[in-house]
């Protein structure tokens, strides 16, 4: 990712100075979403499309999200590329903009993404002008193929959705960051601000955190903590920290007084 003056991450036509993306799932009360967005400064948030609950007067979740925040509808529930494409088209027609998080899952135990269907959906939707952010199993070849298919970024998972296990996929994500000419957004499984900071220190361009914020006892504070960790991790990455070493290296001179 090229550095720019305010270090913004550019996706599609939009520029994000805050590199924490958030989600609207699992909040105990939807009234927490707007204050969480304000406290964290997050500029993009995911939403999902479902059949309405007949007779329910509950307003659509979009009413809880300020206009200044970019919507990232996901294709959750899709088990094939075709279903993901259908959800994406509906979301755009419904006025959600042209960002789409592709999420195609057939494995119901670990909720791991199906890279093959994800790639197929990316090809179709990128051609239709969507800003495609595919949630993917970390795989270097697929990351390259997603690039060629027109994805705007790749979103490898840190660990399975909702597990809070952090960067189980660390080594592969690192390699994807090394080879990818697309921005890399670490999505899923990040359970602690320290894990988000670690992803950013490694050179991830952003992280997407939903469960860890939404299910904490204080999502507003948790959102802010994640945002601070992401900013710190990014700053450390840009500062190009020195490598780890096996042997000690004194920080104070060891000679010049009691020893020569």
């Amino acid at each position: 990712m090229a550095k720019n003056e305010n270090d913004a991450l550019v996706l599609g036509e939009k520029s994000f100075t805050n590199r924490l993306f958030t989600g609207t799932g699992k909040f105990a009360s939807r009234s927490l979403i707007s204050p969480m967005l304000e406290a964290s400064g997050s500029q993009m948030i995911t939403v999902a499309l479902r059949r309405v609950d007949m007779g329910s007067k509950e307003q659509n979740i979009l009413t809880c999200i300020p206009d200044t925040v970019t919507l990232l509808p996901n294709t959750s529930g899709a088990r094939t590329a075709k279903e993901a494409v259908r959800i994406a088209r509906i979301s755009r027609e419904a006025g959600c903009g042209n960002f789409i998080k592709i999420e195609v899952i057939t494995d119901m135990q670990y909720l791991l993404p199906d890279n093959r269907e994800t790639l197929k959906a990316t090809e179709v939707l990128a051609k239709e002008g969507f800003v495609v952010l595919p949630y993917m199993m970390p795989d270097i070849t697929v990351a390259r193929q997603l690039h060629d298919a027109g994805a705007a970024a790749v979103m490898p998972l840190g660990s399975p959705i909702g597990t809070n296990l952090g960067l189980e996929m660390k080594s592969m994500i690192k390699r994807i960051i090394e080879i990818s000419s697309l921005p890399v957004v670490v999505d899923a499984g990040i359970g602690r601000p320290s894990q988000a900071a670690q992803a950013m220190e490694m050179g991830a361009d952003a992280v997407l955190v939903n469960t860890a914020i939404a299910t904490s006892a204080d999502p507003v504070a948790a959102g802010k903590a994640f945002a601070m960790a992401v900013a710190a991790g990014r700053m450390a990455y840009l500062a190009d920290m020195a490598d780890e070493q096996h042997f000690a290296e004194a920080s104070s001179p060891l000679t010049g007084f009691l020893r020569n």
């Binding site: 989600g23 609207t24 799932g25 699992k26 909040f27 939807r30 979403i33 995911t46 939403v47 999902a48 499309l49 479902r50 059949r51 309405v52 007949m54 007779g55 329910s56 007067k57 509950e58 307003q59 659509n60 979740i61 979009l62 009413t63 509808p73 996901n74 959750s76 259908r86 088209r89 509906i90 979301s91 027609e93 419904a94 959600c96 959705i161 909702g162 899923a188 997407l208 939903n210 469960t211 939404a214």
Partner: protein
């Protein structure tokens, strides 16, 4: 007439899409409608006639990650 609404066969009393949304007790502003796989935007609901056998999905955005 009978339609498929959100995956279930139901008897529909309304002639037009707007009527169906109201018949289901939904607030129109919160609903996204798809008729036979094509999205119908809200301004067209009054002029969209429902036919026997139509496959209609009434959707909305919910919390998700």
């Amino acid at each position: 007439m009978k339609i498929r609404l959100n995956g279930k066969t139901v008897e529909c009393r309304s002639a037009r899409l707007m009527g169906l949304v109201l018949e289901m007790g939904l607030a129109p502003s919160s609903v996204v409608a798809e008729v036979n796989l094509a999205v119908v935007t809200q301004e067209k609901w009054e002029s969209t006639w429902i036919k026997d056998g139509d496959e209609i999905e009434l959707l909305n955005f919910v919390g998700g990650g």
